[in-house]
């Protein structure tokens, strides 16, 4: 599994689509994105296991900035960060995309 992370609007989907030469349809079939929105503290390990069945998993970094005052938002943000760590553990390859530029954090470059 290839795990792609990076800030909001940083070009994560575009990067991996170009790197693997995927059509829009192929990308839809092989990738899952915005997985930070799925993070639910209930069973993150099981969620990470399920997501890791996909070839490409994409998450947006949301852990920067001020810790939210609202307890629901706070626990969601925490869960999203933990989910990202669990996904990176399960991934063969981890790439962070910033300003459209990829940086390899684990494994080998996708191609």
């Amino acid at each position: 599994m290839i795990f792609i992370t990076g800030p909001l609007f940083s070009g994560k989907k575009e990067y991996i689509r170009n790197a693997l030469g995927l059509s829009e349809e192929a990308f839809f079939n092989r990738a899952v994105w915005d997985v930070q929105d799925l993070a639910d503290a209930a069973d993150l390990e099981a969620l990470a296991d399920a997501l890791a069945q996909k070839e490409i998993v994409i998450a947006t970094e949301i852990g920067g900035g001020v810790v939210p005052v609202d307890p629901v938002e706070r626990s969601h943000r925490e869960a999203a960060g933990r989910l990202a760590c669990l996904l990176a553990e399960r991934a063969d390859t981890v790439v962070r995309v910033c300003c459209g530029l990829p940086q390899l954090l684990k494994g080998e470059w996708p191609c």
Partner: protein, 169 residues
Amino acid sequence: MFTLVIGGSASGKSVWAEEFVSKQPGKRIYLATMQPYGEEGFTRVKKHREQRSGKGFDTLERYTDLAHAPVPAGSSVLLEDLGNLAANELFSSEGGGTEAVLEGIEFLLRRCDNLTVVANELFSGGRAYADDTLRYLRELARIHRILAGKADLVVELVCGQPNLLKGVD
């Protein structure tokens, strides 16, 4: 040479960029884009001025329309910062939107020998913002991707340490 320096607030990006540009040849221009509002704004401008003193910069203040900025040909320009410039172009009455930002940068790239742009990493704190803010983030991110694509060198500052994203330092 075109360099993009990105980092969060107080990541050390200004100091790094100033040191970097102070080693570049020719006339050095500090292109300030922040319109100072109130006491905090002026204090901030003062801090940056003191930080720069002795590094051989002439300061040029310009808040919008960089495509007509009186920048000397062949100079080394440090533009600080892109987040302010984009906000001025997107939200002020005399602003020309994202295209004005990009045209301004294109003009500077043609005009000067070295351009260094300081940019703000604002994109890791979620997306629970008002529509205007989200539009600003979306436009700013697009500008970042375009400039990163053109740049010879892209450096992300983390705790004052440069993380090279593109090019060879």
